[in-house]
C-alpha cells in the first residue's frame, strides 16, 4: 500500500496537473455564491484539490439559492443530482423531510470513518441543522445573522452619539435624522421577514410559530400575528414610513442599496453584507455595526438572534468512492483554518468554536471593530424554543407571503394587525400543504 502510494506520487511528479485530475474521482458541488464569494469558493476547492490527488472537487455556480434548490430537485428527479449542494436555511425543512434524497451528514461521516464532532460547531449553528432526534443532517457552511448598520456621518450630523439599542431608540433616532436633514430616510431593511419578524421574535423571546418554530414537527403553525409586541413593531414601522423615518426597501436584499447610496442612515441586514457595504461606502461615508435592536417592552435582556445563510447537503445516488471524497472534503471545509479564512473574508460568522478562537487569537476582532457583533449576538445566552431558529416547510413561499402582507401594511392599505393576520392565515395554508405532501 505504501509502495503503491509512493509510486503514485513519483508518477504524479512527472505528469501535468490536468492528467492527474482525470485520474481522480470528481465531486460536483453546486452552490449559490456569486461574485467575490464564488471566487472564494473556487479558491477553497482548488486548495483541497491541490492538497491530495484522489479527488477533484468541482464547484458549479447555479444562480440564486432558490435557483440552486430548484435545479437540485429537478436533477434529483432525473437521477442527475450533484454530490454536494448548498441549500439556504429556509430550504432546510424541505431537505430534512426528503429522507430518500439526502445522505445525512452524521451517517456519511460514520460510514466513511471520517472524524466528525457535532459539538465543534457553535450551538446556534449545530441545533439548526440537527433533526428532532438529535442527528446532524447537513454540514454548516456559511452562517450569518442580521445586525444594524448605521451611517456614522449622518449620526454625527444629527447629533446622535451612540447607535440605538432598542426599537424605541431606533424610532427616535430615525425621526431625528430625517428632521435634522442629516439623511433623507432614517431606517431601511433587507430581508424584511428575516430581520423584522423572525429575528425580532427570537431576540424578544416571542414565538414565530408553534412547536418551537417548527423544530419539533411539521404540524407547526404561524403565530407571529398573535404576539402583541410583534404587531406593535410592524405598526410602528408603518407609522414611520409616512415620514420617511422608515422606508421599506423591497424584498430579499434590495433594501441594502438605500443604505449604500447614503439615502437611509440605518439598515438591518445580514452580517455577511459587510464586505459589500464596505466597498460601496468607501470614500462616501463611514459606517458602524451594532447589534440588532430589541423591544424593551417585551424583554429586559435581548436574547440570541438566529442564523441565516446556508449549509451543504449530500445527495443520494453517488458511488462509494465519491462519498469517501465528499466526507474528506467536508472535513477539510470545516477545519479551523478554512473556516477562519472564510469568515474573515466574507462577514459570515465562524461556524466552529475553534475557528472563532483562531480569529480571536489572530487579533481579527480587535482589528475589525464591528466584526464581532454578529457572533456575540448569536451566542449570547442559551437558545430556548423561540431562539433555535425558524425551520418551517415551504418557508421560501411563506417569506414571499409575509413580504407581500408587509407591503400592504407599509403602504397603508391595511393596519398591521390585519396584514399580519392574513400573512399567518395564508402561510398556514402553505404549512398544511407541506405537511400533507411529506406525510407518508
Amino acid at each position: 500500500m505504501r509502495f503503491h502510494h509512493l509510486f503514485c506520487c513519483a508518477a504524479l511528479a512527472t505528469l501535468s496537473f490536468s492528467s492527474s485530475a482525470q485520474a481522480a474521482t470528481t465531486i460536483t458541488w453546486w452552490h449559490a455564491m456569486e461574485g467575490v464569494l464564488g471566487e472564494k469558493v473556487n479558491e477553497i476547492a482548488d486548495e483541497f484539490n491541490a492538497s491530495q490527488d484522489e479527488y477533484v472537487v468541482k464547484p458549479v455556480y447555479k444562480g440564486s439559492y432558490s435557483d440552486n434548490l430548484t435545479a437540485t430537485i429537478a436533477a434529483f428527479r432525473a437521477n442527475q443530482a450533484p454530490a454536494i449542494t448548498q441549500v439556504f436555511e429556509v430550504g432546510t425543512a424541505t431537505m430534512m423531510n426528503a429522507a430518500g434524497a439526502i445522505y445525512p451528514i452524521h451517517q456519511l461521516m460514520e460510514e466513511t470513518d471520517t472524524p466528525f464532532d457535532p459539538d465543534a460547531f457553535l450551538p446556534a449553528v449545530k441545533s439548526y441543522y440537527t433533526s428532532s432526534d438529535g442527528q446532524m443532517l447537513s454540514m454548516p457552511f456559511n452562517s450569518s445573522t442580521p445586525v444594524l448598520y448605521y451611517n456614522k456621518d449622518a449620526f454625527r450630523e444629527a447629533g446622535i452619539e451612540t447607535p440605538p439599542a432598542t426599537w424605541k431608540a431606533v424610532g427616535e433616532a430615525a425621526h431625528k435624522l430625517v428632521e435634522s436633514g442629516a439623511s433623507e430616510c432614517g431606517l431601511t431593511t433587507a430581508w424584511p421577514s428575516w430581520t423584522q419578524l423572525e429575528n425580532f421574535s427570537a431576540i424578544d423571546d416571542l414565538p414565530f410559530a408553534t412547536h418551537a418554530n417548527g423544530f419539533d414537527g411539521t404540524d407547526a403553525r404561524l403565530v407571529f400575528d398573535k404576539q402583541e409586541a410583534t404587531v406593535a413593531h410592524i405598526q410602528d414601522l408603518a407609522e414611520w414610513q409616512k415620514s420617511h423615518a422608515f422606508e421599506y426597501g423591497g424584498r430579499a436584499d434590495s433594501g441594502t442599496k438605500r443604505f449604500q447610496s447614503g439615502r437611509c442612515a440605518m439598515l438591518t441586514t445580514s452580517s455577511a453584507s459587510r464586505a459589500g457595504i464596505q466597498e460601496a461606502a468607501e470614500g462616501k461615508f463611514t459606517f458602524g455595526i451594532a447589534p440588532l435592536p430589541y423591544d424593551a417592552k417585551a424583554v429586559n435582556q435581548p436574547r440570541n438572534s438566529i442564523i441565516g445563510g446556508a449549509s451543504l447537503w449530500v445527495m443520494r445516488g453517488q458511488s462509494e468512492a465519491v462519498y469517501r471524497g465528499v466526507a474528506r472534503f467536508l472535513n477539510f471545509l470545516s477545519s479551523p483554518a478554512i473556516q477562519a479564512d472564510w469568515a474573515s473574508f466574507t462577514g459570515y460568522v465562524p461556524i466552529t468554536t475553534a475557528a472563532y478562537q483562531r480569529l480571536k487569537s489572530q487579533g481579527f476582532y480587535a482589528d475589525n471593530p464591528g466584526a464581532s457583533v454578529a457572533i456575540d449576538q448569536l451566542t449570547r445566552g442559551t437558545p430556548n424554543d423561540n431562539g433555535r431558529g425558524v425551520r418551517l416547510g415551504n418557508m421560501p413561499q411563506i417569506r414571499n407571503i409575509i413580504a407581500e402582507q408587509l407591503e400592504k401594511a407599509f403602504n397603508g392599505d391595511e393596519p398591521a394587525a390585519a396584514a399580519l393576520q392574513e400573512a399567518a392565515r395564508r402561510g398556514n395554508q402553505e404549512l398544511a400543504q407541506f405537511q400533507q405532501s411529506v406525510a407518508r
Partner: protein, 291 residues
C-alpha cells in the same frame, strides 16, 4: 388530394421532426401536468397521493388566485390595448414619412430584439426607487416614485415595460398591412372629397382588420405568457400581489413553493382559459374581419 392518397407515408415522414418536437416539448409536459393536477406530491417526487379534485378546489377557493385573475385581466387589456394602439399610431406616422423612413422603421423595431428579461432590467434601473433616472425626473414634478411600495406605480411600471416590448412587433405588422393597401383606393377617396381622418376610418381601418385580429390573438398570448420575465425582473409580483399575473402565480407556487399539485392544477386551468379565449376570438371576432 389524389397526390396525398398515393403517398400515404411521405407527408408523415416530413412532418415527423416537427411532431416529435411538439410531442416532447408540449404534449408530454402537458399530459404530465394534467396528471399531477390530481395528485399531491413532495418536492423530490419521493411519494405521491391521489387527491381527486382537491388541488382544483384549493386553487379556486384561494383569494390569491382570483386576485391574480383580476390583475391578469386588467394587465392584459392595458398592455394589449396600449401596445396595439400605439403601434398603429406609429405605423401610420412612419408610413407617411418621406425622408429617412428606413431609419425610423429600424429604430421602432428595435425593442423587439431585446429579450424580455433584459427589457425588465432596463426599466427596473430607470425606475429604481433610489437610483433610477426617471425616479429623479418624477421627483422634480413632485411625484414620489416607489414601485416597491405602491401597487399602482408597480402596475404602471410593468405595463409600460411590456407595451414598449410588444409595440415593435405590432408596428412591423401594422406597417406591412398599411403598405398593402392600394394607394389608388385612398386616392379615389381623396378625389371624392374624403379627408385624412375619414379615409383612415373608412378605408385603412377595415383593410387592416385581418392584421389587427391576428395581432390581438398574438398579443393576448404575449401578455399571458411572455411578460413573465419582465415581471420577474422588476416587481416580483408585488407589492402586495398587485402585479402577480396567473402565470407569475403559477411560477411562484410551482417553483418557489414547490407545490406541484396546485401549480399543475393552475396550469390546466390556464390551458382551458387560453383555449376558451382563442375560441371566442375566432368564433365571434373573426366574423367581423374583412379579408
Amino acid at each position: 388530394m389524389t397526390t396525398f392518397e398515393r403517398y400515404r407515408f411521405t407527408p408523415w415522414l416530413l412532418l415527423a421532426p416537427q411532431l416529435a418536437i411538439v410531442a416532447v416539448f408540449f404534449f408530454w409536459p402537458a399530459a404530465d401536468s394534467l396528471r399531477q393536477a390530481f395528485y399531491v406530491q413532495d418536492a423530490f417526487g419521493l411519494g405521491e397521493r391521489f387527491v381527486g379534485l382537491a388541488n382544483f378546489q384549493r386553487v379556486m377557493a384561494s383569494s390569491g388566485y382570483w386576485q391574480a385573475m383580476s390583475v391578469t385581466v386588467l394587465f392584459s387589456v392595458l398592455v394589449a390595448g396600449g401596445a396595439m394602439l400605439l403601434a398603429l399610431l406609429l405605423a401610420v406616422l412612419a408610413d407617411r414619412v418621406l425622408h429617412g423612413a428606413r431609419l425610423y422603421r429600424v429604430l421602432l423595431t428595435w425593442p423587439y430584439a431585446i429579450a424580455p428579461a433584459v427589457a425588465g432590467i432596463l426599466w427596473m434601473f430607470m425606475f429604481d426607487p433610489v437610483l433610477g433616472v426617471l425616479t429623479h425626473v418624477l421627483a422634480g414634478f413632485g411625484v414620489h416614485w416607489d414601485a416597491q411600495l405602491h401597487p399602482g406605480q408597480a402596475l404602471a411600471l410593468v405595463v409600460i415595460a411590456s407595451i414598449w416590448q410588444q409595440m415593435s412587433y405590432n408596428f412591423v405588422f401594422f406597417l406591412a398591412g398599411l403598405q398593402m393597401i392600394p394607394t389608388s383606393l385612398l386616392e379615389a377617396a381623396a378625389i371624392d372629397g374624403a379627408g385624412p381622418f375619414r379615409r383612415f376610418i373608412g378605408i385603412t381601418l377595415p383593410l387592416l382588420s385581418p392584421t389587427a385580429f391576428f395581432l390581438l390573438v398574438m398579443n393576448s398570448v404575449y401578455v399571458l405568457f411572455e411578460t413573465f420575465a419582465t415581471i420577474d425582473n422588476t416587481t416580483l409580483g408585488g407589492p402586495g400581489g398587485a402585479t402577480r399575473t396567473l402565470v407569475y402565480k403559477l411560477y411562484e407556487d410551482g417553483f418557489v413553493a414547490r407545490d406541484l399539485g396546485s401549480s399543475s392544477a393552475q396550469s390546466v386551468l390556464l390551458m382551458v382559459l387560453v383555449g376558451a379565449l382563442t375560441f371566442v376570438q375566432f368564433r365571434y371576432l373573426e366574423r367581423r374581419v374583412q379579408y
